[in-house]
């Protein structure tokens, strides 16, 4: 069966520090991968998605970047965190067919102080 791992679960970082969140998927190949952000009291905002190694699409301009160095690995990064980067970050994967759902990791609670 497929599983998705996301870490760390919680993170407190000072303003201006770098960020690296990692997500890996097991049990499937060539998944679509996604990074979402959920700000307090708000819905899910799609940040990045990837359909293959090295292929990243950005949905909104921001202080973050994403990379996909391996088929089942998706990394969210920042060189210098801002206070506004605080939030709950969710990684997800789906198969490359439109009528299937996405499967989510447990999320990372990022607090920038």
């Amino acid at each position: 069966s497929q599983t998705i791992h996301q870490w760390p679960a919680t993170l407190v970082q000072p303003v201006g520090s770098p960020l690296s969140l990692e997500c890996t998927v097991e049990g499937t190949s060539n998944p679509n991968l996604y990074w979402y952000r959920q700000a307090a009291g708000r819905g899910l905002q799609l940040l990045f998605y990837s359909v293959g190694i090295g292929q990243i699409s950005s949905e909104v301009p921001q202080n973050l970047s994403a990379s996909r160095p391996q088929d089942r690995q998706f990394i969210l990064s920042s060189k210098k965190l801002l206070l506004s980067d605080s939030g709950f970050y969710l990684c997800a994967w789906s198969k490359f067919v439109p009528n299937t759902e996405a499967f989510f990791g447990q999320g990372t609670r990022l607090t920038v102080v």
Binding site: Q6, N32, Y34, Y36, G41, R42, G43, L44, L46, Y49, V51, S57, F88, L90, A92, S94, F96, V97, P98, N99, E101, A102, F103, F104, G105, Q106, G107, R109
Partner: protein
């Protein structure tokens, strides 16, 4: 582009009462519809989905949703809620977009079941 509107950000309801969480979508093409549930500090879990066929879909824990194409709605219902149903619920729509499939989520509805 598609969009999803969840009209109610917060829905308080007493235990064993019925509940309806509303979801409307807009899309110029055929869509697939989903409801997800999120418990505090956790990821999202699929509750139910509409792909095709019967417009009424059910989950294993008593929730159901009905796809209404003319009203572009996919409201979630449960005839009798439990304390354990307290969570945030997200409606989502999926279409095929170029070479990638994207889920678009609503802003979520916080369901709070009161004793």
């Amino acid at each position: 582009a598609q969009s999803v509107t969840q009209l109610d950000s917060q829905v308080p309801v007493f235990e064993e009462a019925p509940v309806e969480l509303r979801c409307n979508y807009s899309s110029s093409v055929s869509v697939y519809l989903f409801w997800y549930v999120q418990y505090p500090n956790q990821g999202l879990q699929l509750l139910l989905k509409y792909l095709s066929g019967s417009t009424l879909v059910e989950s294993i824990n008593g929730f159901e949703a009905e796809f209404n194409k003319s009203q572009t709605s996919f409201h979630l219902r449960k005839p009798s809620v439990h304390i354990s149903d307290t969570a945030e619920y997200f409606c989502a729509v999926s279409i095929s977009s170029g070479s990638a499939r994207q889920l678009t989520f609503g802003s979520g509805t916080q369901l709070t079941v009161l004793p």
